[in-house]
Symmetry: C2
Subunit: 433 residues, 2 copies
Amino acid sequence: MASRRLLVEVLSIGDELLIGQTVNTNAAWMGRLLENEGWRVNRCVVVSDDEEAILEALADAESRAELVLLTGGLGPTRDDITKHVLCRHFKTRLVRHSAIEERIVAWFQRRGREVLQVNRDQALLPEACTPLDNALGTASGMWFERDGGVTVSMPGVPYEMEHIMESGVLPAMRQRLTSTGRRPQRVHRSLLTMGAGESQLAARIEDLETFWETQGIKLAYLPSPGSVRMRLTAEGAAVAQLDEAHAQILRRIAEWVVSEDGLRVEEELAHLWKSQGWTLAVGESCTGGGLGALIVASPGASAYFLGGVQSYSNAAKTEMLGVKPELIARHGAVSAEVARAMAEGVRQRFGADYAIAITGIAGPEGGTEDKPVGTVHMACAGPSGTQSAAHSFGRDRSRNIAMSIRAACQLALETGRIASKTSKAAAGVADSL
Amino acid sequence: MASRRLLVEVLSIGDELLIGQTVNTNAAWMGRLLENEGWRVNRCVVVSDDEEAILEALADAESRAELVLLTGGLGPTRDDITKHVLCRHFKTRLVRHSAIEERIVAWFQRRGREVLQVNRDQALLPEACTPLDNALGTASGMWFERDGGVTVSMPGVPYEMEHIMESGVLPAMRQRLTSTGRRPQRVHRSLLTMGAGESQLAARIEDLETFWETQGIKLAYLPSPGSVRMRLTAEGAAVAQLDEAHAQILRRIAEWVVSEDGLRVEEELAHLWKSQGWTLAVGESCTGGGLGALIVASPGASAYFLGGVQSYSNAAKTEMLGVKPELIARHGAVSAEVARAMAEGVRQRFGADYAIAITGIAGPEGGTEDKPVGTVHMACAGPSGTQSAAHSFGRDRSRNIAMSIRAACQLALETGRIASKTSKAAAGVADSL
């Protein structure tokens, strides 16, 4: 019973989610956070901005879960009905919180914007709730307790929700677990592989998977374009054996493992480059800047990333990167030769230790019989020379771009790992002389 | 009753969605497609890879909706249990389809990979279903009919699901609607605004919103970083008045409207540049290539996009774009002066009609009292000079990057719109001479 009560369900409110104008990234963010805290996310439901639909889904979620998290429908406009629905559900009424109203007024004044009555009315909250501060916006979070369960309502704007979760909801839930003597009892470990399909991986470790399942450790395969993440989950007593299961599986499929900790390939790349003190530059054709964007998405990228050239046109490849027009004429802009020349050109121009280049046909146009849509060449130039790789992805443009970016990271990571081992071995030889 | 039966519910299966290792983009994609077809998406539910949870959610969805779409759990590994659950739900058994097995074998042979028994077993499908071809993978879709409702199961891999939806599910559902004389009865129109908050927009059009609501036209505000999308929805007889409502609201808030059709700012930019025959290049500092990546995400970008420079380091700004070191020393790398010099430098080097540049402090490090995290300068250089804009976004790195990219598109779009009107006016003057 105690473990059953650690269930959480997420209820997202909004037609924009149902008709796909907004992707439900909030549910994924909450899922990651809650799993790390030891909660089990049992179900996520999206319903429309409709009073009866919200009431039904809310009662349903509360019947199963100890914690129900609602997002959405707290804005100042009239399509936002969540507060009224909550009043009906919790049989309470709206009351004005003057301290919150003052904060809202100050929020608008700081931005030099007029405060409207609808903005002031965001200080009207259900009497039965404890308000949760929202330092990043004007809609407060609301914490309700009833029949041993907790229901929290938060705005749907991702960074406001994240702020309320981290500053208000989590600390309160931790205190609740501590005061009732309950602890997280579900632990995950992941691996990231590239280059093998999920059935190939499964065939290689079939006996291990069977054995560990009997020990209470479950394995899941999570394929995404170009990679398969393998996630081990242990509950209760099996948690103590998780490291051993992880290590055994890792040894068996080592040739395909990109990250032993399930990190993304770009995270492994950043970690290696920073630890080695190397610099990096990029030359991007079909990806248009997506590789650089992925690199700078993580804070601290300036420690190793110098920049790059988006050489989308042939003229840019020649003028900005020094790729000879004859080379393009002879081999085509999408070729191993041009990828190598781009990488070497960008490395030289940026004075970088390493440079990655990508050139390919993302589609849907531009394919030929020899080089169909999805043909991508990439290269990594470094102090010991240039490595290249060729891929035949598929027909879908966005998937080809995404896979090109990850495959280029993988090529650079492999190149960098060999170089770091070589330099370590060389240092070892020097030590022993 | 007829309109109630046009409901669809989406049931996504997979622990990876609940714990946030995967974002549920499938549900959003299906929502967009189905709304365009006139279906009303009533609810989306995510459940774990658990037999009882799937059975309960499936029966629940079928009790409300005419069409239930399942995704996930069809892979070859043992964590994939959907087929067995469907057999139990539809009281049927798995049978082997030899034509599908041949296709699976050919699929692996084309890729030079060994076919394992688990792969062949993907040709085992519930006897009660009609298989739906999957040309992009090895897991077939499954179409079930019972009690006047349809349930479809598809793989969770996005491009495979999309392919089965477009080639199998939609044509069959259209035929079903035609044969029963039912037609789509729900229509949306959108506007995209930038520069105003949702309460500001709502205050400006309060009377219109009230009036059109009485006519059966509903307005929703969908804020995202830097913009607010306004979506009008009409059902039944109100559809005929939708254009008029849209035009009235548009006139009232024209100063903030970026797209009259609710297109994204980058879509409007691409449309204008292609129609004018202009070329475009970019210079990106804090965005690292994200502006270029956004531009090339749409097919056909090569018609106007030449490329750019990711001048992440100061040295790259100087050496690749000719920004004078003294200018950086005097004003700082994040300044209107440097943004303008970057835009002019990239325009000249790429020989482009227009160039956009962005330089800013994305955070979390690098802020000062004068220039806190979130300070971003941008410029657009063109044949008639250079426009610049300054923004103070917020504290969140990814949000600052996303807002910088959209704001830069907006600046370029405004610059381009003025230029196209000026040239049209000049042409008009010439005509009248």
